[in-house]
Symmetry: C2
Subunit: 185 residues, 2 copies
């Protein structure tokens, strides 16, 4: 896929206004349309990069979590994940989130893929790592905003959960698709 010379970036024409919400900042600015020459307002969500982790036990099962999610006000079945801390390597963040949320640790994180959660309104990326030989070696370190149940599921049960809609989280579905695309078992 090659670019079209007629498609050009939109220069920002006005200083940003920001609102800090802790886990992300809202940034508002104006940018000039290269097509119409007109200034338009845009709002984006500036967030740190996220990670999620496909953690497989020595038996090949997957370490999953259930928790109450405040966006949808519902329980979800997901894989472990979270925000990359400032200055932290995404691979380290993956191992840290796995440990904190589940008490599991394993081999060195292997990058499975990177996605943009929503390039229209989110500035960040989500990195998916595979951690093999995951075993429960420590206690969980849930922060006060978390209440997590660890569920170890077979690969088939996870596939079925993705197919039947039990797993609905887009970033988790991307992680599972990366895993399936990987040639080796």
């Amino acid at each position: 896929v090659t670019g079209n010379d007629e498609l050009r970036p939109w220069p920002r024409t006005r200083d940003e206004r920001r609102a800090d919400y802790g886990i992300f900042e809202i940034v508002r600015f104006r940018a000039r349309s290269p097509r119409t020459g007109e200034d338009r307002p845009f709002t984006v969500i500036e967030a740190p990069d996220w990670v999620n982790v496909v953690a497989l036990t020595p038996a090949g099962d997957m370490v999953c979590i259930r928790q109450f999610r405040h966006g949808t006000s519902a329980f979800t079945l997901e894989i472990p994940g979270g925000m990359v801390d400032p200055g932290e390597d995404p691979a380290q963040a993956a191992a840290r989130e796995l440990r904190e949320e589940t008490g599991f640790t394993g081999g060195p994180p292997e990058l499975l893929g990177v996605v943009e959660p929503n390039p229209a309104i989110l500035t960040n990326r989500c990195h998916t790592y595979l951690i093999r030989d995951a075993r429960r070696t420590t206690g969980t370190e849930m922060d006060a905003g978390e209440d997590i149940e660890v569920v170890v599921l077979s690969r088939d049960a996870v596939r079925e959960g993705a197919r039947d809609g039990t797993i609905k989280h887009a970033l988790v579905l991307c992680a599972l698709a990366f895993l399936e695309d990987r040639a080796e078992p």
Copy 2:
């Protein structure tokens, strides 16, 4: 996957504070942890549902779009999509976005799947539709905030774009995975 009786919802304890950013609202509230009994602050992004569209031409090629995205300040290769209008059926929204963004129309939208873009912080869902027999029948109706190039690609080119990272949008990757999972061609 069955629920654990120990995992309970978090009751909201404080009135919400809202900030309206047009394409979404930021909602802040406090909720009580069922684990610790402590009140914690949460921030979520209340957005209308989104749709995206896998539109296949009579030859089986896919109608894709390139555009500048202000979240990542970069050009993306995506499929058509957008927000469901108030009171609009998601299937209608899919046909409308395809028409407005590309000038293509086709058969009745068939639901391929539904995902939650991020249940931790987003309240909404994204509906993916398949539209067959898509042909360019009309002009595009880009709004002043859009500048879109239509690119019709073979299924193989799209698969390759998903594999090599040309297509990075998580919701688009979910749509393509739904299409691949569908048994019929």
